[in-house]
């Protein structure tokens, strides 16, 4: 095989997906052995690990991360499955699909803030019921946010993970030959939902296994949702690691590295457990299928509708409250609506919001343009597809806190400095996998006969790409650009670490201001964050419609 430009892109992609994680992990292992970069004296490795295991509450922190991660992943997967089983193939589902994009776009932090102002004892739900029903004149002293079991945090995770899994399942439908299988089992007299679970789900699950693993790993190590909604006495292990990394006692940074390895081990154990669970469920499914029981599946449809509506209410309700707070003057408990309106926050932050927003979008666009070239180039080359698939999930499954600090040190060492370049490269590590995920299916779904015809017409591979594949894929590419920009906009830790603080984005500014706890400012920045992430989605929907307004074949199917 000759080395074409697309092969160059492919190997660059491999480097970008694999290199940073390996470089980062190397630094973390060194740290865990007591060699903290920059610190003048190394610390004995035994002291480091002894300190980790004797840290107050470490056992509970580990258990908490483990349990909340598994629970969030399980509920997200079960909900997504139920929604697909009860709903896919119906007309309303086809319409509802468009609503997935905004769910995906909203940064985790903004979604978590929205949920917080909704479910807190002083939140909107309590206000709606007070005092006429509850009798509460002041907020009840209830432990809802930061409950010791981490249920509020689990809720925050589900609201974001459910739409991601749904999107992955929808993408898997064609290859799983869902329509054919469904026609078959319905003819055999199975209800829709039950038939879907038995006949279609196994095929779908095989394809979304890696996304599910990514969800599990993310849920166990998420920082944003844990900071805003999670328990603090003690917090989940990811937060403990952050605290160590931020402690004035610089020697605690060694503990942060060791903690990162604990976090990584925890994720690996959970993945093994999950795999065993998969095998058990597959057994159960087979015996159910053999029993031949039929059922109506009405319950599943109702459950699906309820689940979809609930997560929708939490997300959109949360944003409604954030929007209200951003224009609230006086707003005491238990008033349902602000008593007075004030545009002080928008007036004082408006200019900064526009400026930071523009910089954020510009950075995201530059990163996505680069990532798009790499992703399309790699897909054109498509050798070693297994290698690519495995690598795509590497930055998504290895928790961010475990390799980012090591990666920052490595990027400084090779002289990348601070500012837009290192931040852009760091974002690329997380944006590229999503572009590959979103584009792989449409790319492979292109009728291979187009390629044969084009070659027969004498078009060189380059002309085939520019004249045919690129325009044919305009719609999925626009969608992928939007997803990629949303991912870039939502990055917090990578932006902060790589930029040295010199490249503020809406997300870093939002989290810095959130430290002040002013709901009005949080509301304004949360909305700005969401708007920045949603704008590309709106464009992605509108652009193909505009370009292909005279091409029916490009608008349907």
């Amino acid at each position: 095989m000759t080395l074409s430009p697309s092969h160059l892109f492919f190997w660059l992609t491999v480097l970008i997906l694999g290199g940073p994680v390996l470089a980062g992990l190397t630094g973390v292992v060194a740290g865990a052995m007591g060699h903290v970069p920059g610190l003048q004296n190394a610390i004995p490795a035994g002291d480091v690990w002894g300190a980790v295991w004797s840290w107050p509450g470490i056992g509970r922190s580990v258990t908490l991360s483990f349990w909340t991660g598994l629970l969030a992943a399980l509920i997200s997967l079960a909900s997504a499955t139920l929604i697909m089983a009860g709903w896919s193939g119906t007309l309303s589902f086809a319409r509802a699909r468009h609503w997935l994009a905004p769910f995906l776009a909203v940064p985790h932090a903004a979604a978590a803030f929205g949920i917080a102002v909704l479910i807190a004892p002083s939140g909107w739900i309590a206000r709606a019921l007070s005092p006429w029903l509850s009798g509460w004149e002041r907020p009840p002293d209830l432990l809802i946010l930061g409950d010791p079991l981490g249920l509020a945090m689990v809720l925050g995770l589900i609201v974001k993970e459910l739409p991601f899994l749904l999107l992955m399942m929808i993408a898997a439908l064609p290859q799983a030959k869902a329509a054919t299988s469904m026609a078959l089992v319905t003819a055999l007299g199975y209800g829709c939902a039950r038939g879907w679970l038995l006949a279609v789900f196994p095929g779908i699950y095989r394809q979304i296994r890696l996304p599910v693993y990514a969800v599990l790993a993310y849920s166990m190590s998420a920082v944003d949702a844990a900071l805003i909604l999670g328990p603090t006495t003690p917090p989940p292990i990811a937060i403990v690691i952050l605290r160590w990394a931020a402690d004035p006692d610089l020697s605690l940074r060694a503990l942060a590295s060791a903690g990162a390895l604990v976090q990584l081990g925890l994720v690996l154990v959970a993945l093994v457990l999950w795999r065993l669970g998969e095998i058990a469920v597959a057994q159960l499914g087979r015996s159910l299928a053999e029993s031949g029981q039929r059922g109506s599946g009405r319950a599943a449809e109702i459950a699906a509708a309820t689940l979809a509506a609930t997560s929708g209410i939490f997300l959109f309700g949360g944003f409604a409250v954030l929007a209200l707070w951003s224009v609230a003057g006086a707003w005491h408990f238990p008033a349902f609506l602000p008593e007075t309106l004030s545009f002080r926050v928008w007036a004082s932050h408006g200019a900064a919001l526009v400026e930071t927003g523009a910089a954020t979008l510009l950075l995201a666009f530059a990163v996505v343009a680069l990532a798009l070239a790499l992703a399309l180039g790699s897909l054109e080359a498509k050798p070693h597809r297994c290698l690519l698939t495995a690598l795509v999930y590497l930055p998504l499954i290895v928790p961010q806190v475990t390799f980012l600090p090591g990666l920052q040190a490595a990027s400084l060492k090779i002289g990348l400095g601070s500012g837009a370049l290192p931040v852009g490269l760091m974002h690329l590590v997380f944006v590229l996998p999503y572009l590959l995920l979103v584009l792989a299916d449409p790319f492979n779904a292109l009728d291979p006969r187009y390629r044969t015809i084009a070659a027969g017409l004498g078009l060189s591979p380059a002309r085939q790409f520019w004249r045919l594949r690129l325009p044919l894929l305009l719609t999925p590419i626009a969608g992928a650009v939007a997803v990629g920009m949303a991912v870039s906009i939502g990055q917090y830790l990578p932006t902060l670490l790589a930029g040295g603080g010199r490249l503020p984005t809406l997300t870093t500014e939002a989290l810095a201001l959130a430290a002040g706890g002013d709901r009005r400012v949080i509301g304004a920045y949360g909305l700005a964050q969401a708007a920045a992430a949603l704008a590309p989605f709106a464009l992605a929907l509108a652009l193909p419609r505009r370009v292909w307004r005279n091409r029916q074949g490009m608008l349907h199917g």
Binding site: A455, G456, L459, P461, R467
Partner: protein
């Protein structure tokens, strides 16, 4: 332009297992028919000729076109035109855009437009150059697909069950149109079909695969 397409023990294998092996000569200006049940390897032979053998399979043997072994060339340098059951017009291009795609690069814009226009009127589709292909009828699409491949001046023509989706009246109409154009240009043409009527209408030699 009177070249023949000659397959010399063209063999498609999966690993060490041969799937199909064939030797034949498709003479210029003649329609050679390849028949066989599904799974007999008809499509793999066409793929070998166009240079698009799928991953996991490989082809050995020679593919001679005008005495030159084109098996070593990349697909896009072989100039093998192909028509499928589906018209496969590019949905993002206009009718004229589809046709112009096959024209060799270069030449003046007005000249290229003129050639597209003449090709359209040749098959009774005058004035449809600006149309969205999705708005054409099935018969119109099939004719555009034919003219698209002919405008690219192929050295041989492959027909992969090209009439399968057309209803019977249209089917014979399009069939004779395609056959006539292929013969008129003196193209060596290989027709793959499982329909005996197609083979009969082709009027050339028939090779049966098992």
């Amino acid at each position: 332009m009177a070249e023949s397409l000659i397959l010399k023990t063209l063999t498609i294998s999966a690993g060490a297992t041969p799937i199909v092996s064939v030797s034949l000569t498709a003479a210029a200006g003649e329609i050679t028919t390849l028949m066989g049940p599904s799974g007999s390897g008809k499509s793999s032979i066409l793929a070998a000729i166009t240079g698009t053998v799928p991953d996991g399979l490989f082809a050995t043997g020679e593919i001679l076109l005008g005495g030159q072994n084109i098996a070593t060339l990349p697909g896009w340098k072989r100039h093998i035109g192909i028509l499928y059951q589906d018209d496969l017009l590019f949905p993002h291009l206009s009718v004229g855009g589809n046709l112009a795609l096959g024209l060799a690069p270069g030449g003046r814009r007005t000249e290229r437009q003129g050639r597209v226009k003449r090709a359209l009127s040749e098959v009774g589709l005058e004035g449809l150059a600006a149309r969205d292909p999705a708005t054409l009828s099935g018969g119109q699409k099939a004719r555009v697909a034919l003219m698209r491949v002919l405008l690219s001046e192929p050295r041989a023509l492959l027909l992969d069950e090209p009439f399968g989706t057309l209803d019977s009246e249209l089917r014979s109409q399009i069939r004779s149109l395609v056959f006539n154009h292929a013969k008129a240009r003196g193209l060596p043409t290989l027709l793959v079909t499982h329909d005996p009527q197609d083979a009969e209408a082709a009027g050339g030699p028939v090779i049966r695969l098992r």
